[in-house]
Every structure is written in C-alpha cells, then in structure tokens.
Symmetry: C2
Subunit: 445 residues, 2 copies
Amino acid sequence: MKVKPRLVKGTRDFLPEQVNKRKYILNTIQTVFKKFGFQEIETPAIELLETLTGKYGEEGDKLLFKILNSGDFLSKADDQHLQEKDSKAITASISEKGLRYDLTVPLARYVVQHQNELNFPFKRFHIGPVWRADRPQKGRYREFFQCDADIIGSTSLLNETELTLILAEAFEALGLSVKIQLNNRKILEGIIETVGVSEQYKEILIAIDKMDKIGEEGVTNELQNLQLTAEQITELFALFSITDLHALANSFKDKSAIGEEGCEEMTSILNKCSKKNVVFAPALARGLDYYTGTIWEVVVNDVAMGTIAAGGRYDNLTEMFGGQNMSGVGISFGIERIYDVLEELNQWPADITTSTKVLIINFGNEGENVGWQLLQSLRNSNIPSELFPDDAKLKKQMSYADKKNIPYVIFIGEEEIKTGKYSLKAMTTGEQNVLGLEELIEVLK
Amino acid sequence: MKVKPRLVKGTRDFLPEQVNKRKYILNTIQTVFKKFGFQEIETPAIELLETLTGKYGEEGDKLLFKILNSGDFLSKADDQHLQEKDSKAITASISEKGLRYDLTVPLARYVVQHQNELNFPFKRFHIGPVWRADRPQKGRYREFFQCDADIIGSTSLLNETELTLILAEAFEALGLSVKIQLNNRKILEGIIETVGVSEQYKEILIAIDKMDKIGEEGVTNELQNLQLTAEQITELFALFSITDLHALANSFKDKSAIGEEGCEEMTSILNKCSKKNVVFAPALARGLDYYTGTIWEVVVNDVAMGTIAAGGRYDNLTEMFGGQNMSGVGISFGIERIYDVLEELNQWPADITTSTKVLIINFGNEGENVGWQLLQSLRNSNIPSELFPDDAKLKKQMSYADKKNIPYVIFIGEEEIKTGKYSLKAMTTGEQNVLGLEELIEVLK
C-alpha cells in the first residue's frame, strides 16, 4: 500500500541547512556551558506516567503524550469504563508510559535516583527534545528542543552570577544584542507585603505578570477586581518602578524582612557582574512558576520575539521523588525562538551552509580514476571533498555543487591528465586556476 | 504524592562520563561523514502510524510504540470491539501516531516529501534515537541510537567504495581493529542459481545466514530439510568458500549472468579500495533485509561482539511513499555495541572524562573575591574553570575536584592575596607551584 508522505501535525523535518543552523546555536551555547564547568547528561524520551503526571498542573497533564501499553492492553481495562467510553478513566489502565514534557522533572528524578553517583553541587546541562500535545500554531510545536543548565545542591549566590554570565556570554557569542532582566521572588513578596496585601500574593503576581500584554491600565483593572484600593494600587506601582536597589531596600525597612533579603541577594549578584545589559527589573514575575528566589528573563533587542531565555531558583526540586530537599537554580535557552531571531536578522556565520569544500567533476574513464586518486589526497589533508559519483552532464554536476554551496570545483580533462595538474574553479567569482597538487591543497586548506 | 524514581524498563539515564563517551563516538563518526560530503538531517521522533506500519513485517508492527490519541480518544472506538476487549482491532481507532522504529523508513518518507528541495545524489547522515517495544535484555534497549549514512539517487559503484572507506576511516579513528566484510546479493543469487536451486533462494539464504550461530553442520541440516541433495549441498559450500573473485566469476560462466555481474561489481569496488581489512565474504547474507546489491558487515577483532556496523544497497526505498524508484545505498554504525567494545578495551581518549581544567578552592571572604576575579581571567583565556560556589570544607572541595576529574586546583590564601600569586596543585602528582597570573594561564592552556 502506498501512503502519502506526511508529518504528524506540529512536528518538523529539518533540511541539512536547518540542521547546521540549529547545531550552530546548540554548539555555541554548549561551549559556554562547558567553559563554566557544566557537564552534559541524557535521560530517556519515555518516562513512566507516574513520574510525569501531576507535575505540570491539570492542563499540563492533558498535554502529555501517552503511550499505549504493548500487547493485549484492554485486558486490564475496567468493563464499565469501557462501556461508558470514559476515556479519562480508562487511560491509567491502558497506558503507563509517556513522552517527557520538559527536562526539569526528568532532572529531579535523575538527581534522586543517582544521588550517590553524582558530584554535588551538580552542574549539569541537558539538550534534547520534549513533547507536548498542544494545538500547533506558528512558532509552537509538539516536538521541540529544550536547552537547560542547572546547579543542584548549592544555595550560594555565586551560582546566580555564574548563570547570568553564561546568558551574557552565550548571546554575545551568537552575536545577539539582548537585555538580561533579573528579579527576585523575595522582592516581589516584599513589595506586596509592604503594601499590606500579602493574602493576595498569588493573584497580584498573576496580574503584574501580564504588564507586557495588557499594559498598566489592564493591570490596574485586574488589581481593582482584587479589591485593592486606589491607594494600594498607586503604592504597588510606585514600588514596582524603583530600579535602584538601595532605594528599594530603604522602602522595605521595618516593613518587609523578606524584601530586604531579596534586595541584598540582588545586590550581591549584580555587584559581581558588571555587564551593561544585565538589569534589575522589579516588575518581572515569571508567572506562577515554582521559583523561590532569583528569576531571569532575557529579551532580544531589535526583534519583537518575547522571551528567548529564562530561569530561576527553585527550592523543592527533588522533594516530589522523596529526595532530601535540594535547592536548585537554572536557566533555559529558547532554542526555537533564538533560531527565528537569527533567521530574521540573518545573523549566521558566513560558512554555515558549507560542508564540502570542493567537488571533483566526473568526466568518466581515466579522468574518474585520476579524480579518485586526487580525492584521497585531499581527504588525507582533511579537506572535506567529493567526487561526483556518475559522469553525469556537466550542468547537473555544477548544479549539485551550487545547491550544496560547495565553494570550489575541480576539472580533470585530457590536458590536466597529461600535465598532472588540476583546474580549480571558484564557484562565486568564476575564477579558474591550473594548479599542482601541493598548491591545490594549500588553496583549499 | 511522592513517587519512587524509576525508569521505564529498557531505557537508560546517562551520567556525564557516559555522555562524554557516547559523544566521542558520535563526533568521531560524524567528522568522517562530513569529510566525505554527507549532510545531517533530522526527522521527528513521532511519525504517523500509516507511515510506520507494514514496513517491518508483522513482528515489527507489534514492536511499534503507539501513542494514544489526545482528548476523548474512545469516542471513535467501535462498540463491539470495546465490548469484546479486542485490543488489536481497537488500536487503529484510538492511536494514529507512533515512535519511529528506525531511521530508514523516515528517510524514505523524507526523500519523497522533500524531493524538490533536496540535491541528488542525496548524501545524508542521521543520528538519533529509535524505539522498539522489545523485551529488554543485556545489550538490547527499547530506546537506542542509530547512526546512518546513505546515498540516495545514484547507482554508481563509487558510492559503495566511499561507504567502505568511511567504515575503515571511522573505525581507525576510534582505534578499533575491525574486519570489513563485503558481499553482493547478486553473488549469493549467482551461487544458488549455479547449483540450480533458485526456487528456494530465500530459504537457502536464511539457512546460510545462520552459519555463525549454528555452524556448518547446522546449516547442512537445514539445507537437507529443504530437500537439497548431498551433491547440491557440497557444491553450495564449495562455491561459498571461494574468496577469489576471478575464480568465482569463472564458476558462474555460462551458468549465472547475475552472478557474473555481482563479481564484476565486487571487483570494481575492491579495486578502488586497497585496505587490508576490507575483505570479500561470499557467505555473508545479512538475513532477509531488503538489500539488492552490495552488503556490508563489520566485526571487531579481539572482542566477541558480533556485528558493529552493517549496510547494503537497496533498490526500492521510496516506492512505498509513491516516489519514483530511487536506488539507495547506506551503512549503519551500531553505536551501543561500539560503546561496549570501547568500554571493554578501555580504548577511550585520555581526557574523555575531563571537562573543567581547574577548580579554584573557595576559602570565603576576600579569597573568594580574588578567586572570582581570577576565574574571569582564566575564562577569558578560554580555560574551562570553576570557583567552588561555597566556602565548604577543604575536603569536600577536593573531593569535588577529584570526582569530576579536574586535573588542577588553585589555592588562594592570605599569602597569595598579599603577593598576588596563586598556588596551583596538580591533582595526580600532588605537585604544587606558586605562580603569577601569566604563568598560571600558560600552564593551564
């Protein structure tokens, strides 16, 4: 049976050029991770549903890809549930595995499971695909890559500074101008406590977090709906606009010890990190994530793309797997968005699409044999090179070189065979030179 | 709810050292692929079941991991099938996606789907996980990596020689002594035709393929069961033992044109490839794979491991997706087995477990500040380095360096702070030197 070749909605094939570009991003970030002493780990794509379920909220649970048990999976299913066609109730009995939803829950499992083999503070990075049964839309995929670095088992603020420097160095290496915004959950708590509305901490946080989307007016509306007085709202906005840490700490004096602590932490981090593009952003909230201390959000200048990297400190990572409570702090690079930004700015290295350096044109017979020998010599000099496998029409062979962005082609005609020289043509300029083997290798190296 | 951290059976976590080792293998092979002009592609882990089903035989279909449809998946299920708890019949209505089983069927889909974007002959490599719902056992995993290189759209035998050289170069780069065995389906066909038992071609192939497992006696038994005469069996074995291509071609004369063709092909490939460890193996059959021409099987010397790489030419790759018939030829490296071999021989590069070059010991206070400045200088010189984030006990910090295989540590005590120098200790020899910044960088570079 012939089937039409199709992809699952929300998944993608990558052409060689796209793979090169993706690898360039990942390698650049990876190089920085390693320079900072992070080590790579891998975990399986498939996890037990008992590991995944309940970690991402009810919405998240719905977005888990679940794998059907093998064999006679219905045998364990409840008859009544089957009769009632109760999909939700039947799931647990016919599926016990799922695809990982992120790299964080697998990290938590990994750290508890391997705690005796790991070296703490454990500085790991992890790059790999994750899966979400989301409705696909522009820029949102069902299979996409995450790229995370975390430090587990150290509460030192040096870790925060390190991660900030990693963000700065990685984006610099990618040639992207970014703003690295930091805040601290303790500062948010301090502001809300200072205004005296701590009972509504969560709701206020959610409202503040929408600033980018609905503006100050929208947030004001939401705060009014939360029964905050005009005075309280004014005070909140005033505090959220103080970017001077000394001044903010003064506002907390005798009103919020946790706020003061947050200011101290933030000061300590920023003092060690004299990058111009690292800024304190007191209104940054990062939604309802599980963060408990410092939080990061990186936005790119010049392109409207939203957050392209983010992170934070969290205190209860390993608890869900019965591990002793270990503090963690980590960042995550939004690989897919970074790709889109670099694409929009066309900010790729010049040779990103080149792999083969030279194609030897195949005219068949003796030329092919000479070409084959030459090919071995070029490769012995570590020059990525090809001999076209068939003596196809010249036009076809040239088009092959062109499409593959191969910068040089070599012609071996009768004259070349006689003299033991080779005609080297540069594809972009059209310049052609007759060279001996040594000169040839020198040019191509 | 706390859950015990567990893995799905047959899947694995990788510790940093293991990831380094795996990456070393993959990078080594990849470097060779690129030198030969192969380009990397990626396809999604999830494919439509209509793409996967029916391509791997009935047994293979059973081993596909199937993904449960999202939402109210039972709504489309047939009532009677549900009532009868007919798992097999119900599957199609509750699951339309699965995890890829290999990288070959996705390649076929990819080539047809993107034929207008690809550059033929299309030389691609693909490295990634595949999934099989197999019974896990030693060395057999449900999630494992494949590493394939294929050339699509060229029947030239130069491609076969290229792939043979890739195998030779990759294993040489990995420091492994291997035997690269080649055969050709046409030679197998020729031998069987010459003996006059072509009607039983498939059955005889299956029997011959078991030589390694059941020996000549076992194969003889199987051939007897196929009603071959003693004479025919003797002739078969005689032909299968001729490793001289010229002599074999003579045996085919006037008896098997296809056999002669196979000998010609094999001669042409081997003539261009003067490696000592590349040998013609006339009894090599590679089971019932879809191969139609040259076949490869690579075994490692010195370790009993079976096949660690294999491949072949196949003629009908794209047909199943309605593409025009394109010939393909490819090889696949058995990454998991290569890992086990290197592990058994302990044949890893010396620095495989090292990532960080130097750890600055943290004694707190001013020492930490000086250490922090030093850290920036080291990293500016591209030396992977760390400052321990807490002023923990010296023993703990030293143990951290030791476990992480960090070759050097730096101490910054009062004396060092006063003189602006640093004590550098080599972890293996215990040798300690007091150095200025420039000397320090020189030693660590």
